[in-house]
Amino acid sequence: MEFYFGLAQIIGIHVILGLSAYVLMLTGQLSLAQAGFFAIGAYSAGILTVLFQFHIVPALIIASLVAGLFAFLIGFPALRVRGLMLVVATIAFSEVVRLFFFNLSWRKTIDGIEAGPDSTNGFREIRFFAANGWEPYQVTLFVWLFVALVMFLIWWSDRARSGAVLRAVGEDELAAHSVGINITAVKVAAMTAGGMIAGIGGALYAHTATYVDHLTFTILLGTFAIAYPILGGLRSVFGTLLAVVLIQGVLVEGLRALGDWRNILFGVIIILTMNLKPGGLFDTQTVQALRKGLAFRDKGAPNA
């Protein structure tokens, strides 16, 4: 079972990462900065629990706020540009964050051992869970508590006016501006929310992996963050969930038996999906079909 709990933790954390990009993508912005926010969350929470002996919950909240703060600050200059320029600007941000942690060495002696981030050697011994006797199922539940919370918040706000506002900005900025939406505020808010969510994900990641170094947070991670919502489709948060389960659960884990060929298959599947379902797995048609299908069952009569 331990393996499935571990897998569920990985899936949960990647869902959070994907959703952090999802929020911003609703407004039509493509950000590769999520790896940076994720790193800020991971290191902040790790530093708090390891060097300052915080409990995981306050550490997680603070990490999320710190990541959100950076997202807020970077939001203003970064969101002046869009499209490819934004992609490159956010890559640059995420790389600067990574290089910061690459250069960061902050060691303290805790309980007789030296602990803390140590530049290239990474940040070891982030063992809050194991050291406090958390069973794997408890850790998994803890991770999924946050997954559920984040998913619920996004799902709920997507059904309310806020979701429509975010999507309106994504569909047509000029029109949205003309109907009285403060574009900058909405985008920066989305960026901040995305940063906070990624911060939570990073904090959870650092504690389940027990070790982070700067190489964890490369552009590749940022690419995965946007890959989940794109593959899953931007019509529903469940698309992101499905994409993570497919990639982390099926491709990375389930097909491990394929060994060498698995990663090649990975690229092929992405290409095929995008050609067959450019809007993602949960695109407009699928979502409508699902809704109608479910409605059909509820009411027992076709919904004209």
């Binding site: 290239t120 006797g133 099926v250 884990e253």
Partner: protein, 426 residues
């Protein structure tokens, strides 16, 4: 009607999820000693995993050909090995460790191949045996490739059989002192975002060189605060221009820094890709030190594929070279399995034989019902080991740290081959 057309895209997904949930357990009738290996078989460090698997496979074949392993009740069992790809990635190494520990009957794991992944993976294991308050994984690991110093003491369940670089460079510089009396000064650089290269450079190579009286002619060293070696008590400003990153392509500034130092001996503490880049740039700038020393990890086939001509003359200490008859056999068997036996992968051979030895010494039963007990016996057996037979001779164990002291030789790149120039065992 349930709109099959639009939902069809989701069906393969559902099928895959079902596939994933199918239990990986297969109940074998015969008793076998199962072991699991994992490492990078995809990604830019694929050669590590390919070589490691090839050697491990060869070792298991040789054990089985010699009659297999004798179990606690006298039954003879074959050894069975399954190899997984963990892509040199922390997440995946952890995931495979969990999978192997909870979904298979493997008695022990051999992997992962990379230091970074190992550093992360060791963290999920129980720190101290018998501490029931620690819920870390309880499964023995005997790592073969990841060399970065001081990892295995993280948990009492983790062991390594990798070269001890401190001894290797200590002896290398002693030997160089004797054989190159005209060499007095040293200088060098490393790839600073590769933990093994950087740590070994700062904390092993430079330390050992100065210990043997070579004079470091640069500034301070990245990753090292305080004095260098025992000779100098002066803290110097860090040498900035002589290092590079592991994916760098332009080495002009670094090679100039090397040249400017006019050192008799130069050190390139780096993995093959950047070792080759740096050596090529040194050749272009006509940097010709009297002695060139490389990082253990570059004593592999990759360096020769990338820059045999430029590496000519470079000394490297290594834990593997086909100098004994068994080592020659291993090298041949590895090539037959599609990999190379080098200092990283050769340990996998020894690991398989160590496992055989521990199984026989501790009376492991290899029954599904005794799995937990067998794993514990395996761990205790590894802990209790003093000496094992290695490819180059007897391999000593460092008890409390789970590390090993391996015999080694010095090789030099000569005519596109690694040639053993000195064998400290003699």
């Amino acid at each position: 009607m349930f709109y099959p057309k639009n939902l069809a895209g989701l069906l393969p997904a559902a099928a895959c999820v079902v596939m994933l949930l199918l239990p990986g357990l297969s109940q074998a009738q015969e008793r076998t000693v199962k072991i699991a290996g994992w490492g990078a078989k995809s990604g830019p460090l694929r050669s590590f995993g390919v070589n490691s698997e090839a050697v491990l496979k060869a070792a298991v074949e040789s054990i089985n050909a010699a009659g297999g392993v004798s179990l606690g009740d006298g039954t003879r069992a074959m050894m069975e090995m399954e190899y997984y790809d963990s892509a040199c990635n922390a997440d995946q190494a952890i995931s495979v460790a969990r999978k192997v520990a909870s979904q298979t009957e493997a008695l022990i794991g051999i992997g992962p191949t990379c230091s970074g992944a190992a550093a992360a993976m060791y963290g999920i294991f129980q720190k101290n045996v018998d501490n029931s308050g620690d819920t870390g994984l309880q499964f023995p690991i005997l790592t073969d490739t990841a060399i970065r110093p001081g990892l295995a003491k993280k948990s009492q369940w983790t062991f390594r059989n990798v070269p001890n670089e401190i001894n290797m460079y200590d002896e290398l510089f002693a030997w160089l002192r004797e054989n190159h009396p005209d060499v007095k000064t040293i200088y060098g650089g490393t790839e600073t975002n590769q933990a093994h290269s950087k740590l070994t450079f700062a904390k092993v190579i430079v330390q050992m060189a100065t210990k043997h009286g070579f004079e470091w002619v640069g500034g301070g060293i990245d990753g090292l605060t305080g004095k260098i070696g025992s000779g100098s008590d002066q803290v110097l400003e860090t040498t900035k221009a002589s290092n590079w990153l592991m994916e760098d392509t332009n080495f002009s500034v670094q090679a100039r820094a090397f040249k400017k130092s006019r050192a008799d001996m130069l050190i390139v503490s780096s993995h093959p890709f950047t070792t080759c880049g740096m050596l090529k740039e040194m050749k272009r700038q006509r940097v010709r030190p009297k002695v060139l020393v490389g990082l253990t990890s570059s004593s592999s086939q990759e360096t020769l594929l990338g820059c045999a001509a430029e590496a000519e003359g470079m000394y490297i200490p290594t834990g593997f070279a086909p100098v004994t008859s068994v080592a020659k056999r291993v090298a041949k068997a590895a090539t037959a399995n599609g990999g190379f036996a080098d200092l990283h992968s050769a340990a996998a051979w020894e690991n398989a034989w160590i496992i055989k030895q521990v199984v026989e010494e501790t009376g492991i039963m290899a029954k599904p019902s005794t799995l937990a007990a067998d794993r514990r016996k395996m761990r205790d057996g590894l802990e209790a080991l003093d000496n094992v037979d290695g490819l180059l001779g007897s391999v000593g164990r460092v008890r409390d740290e789970g590390e090993s002291i391996k015999p080694f030789v010095f090789v030099q790149a000569t005519g596109g081959q690694w040639v053993v120039v000195h064998d400290p065992r003699n």
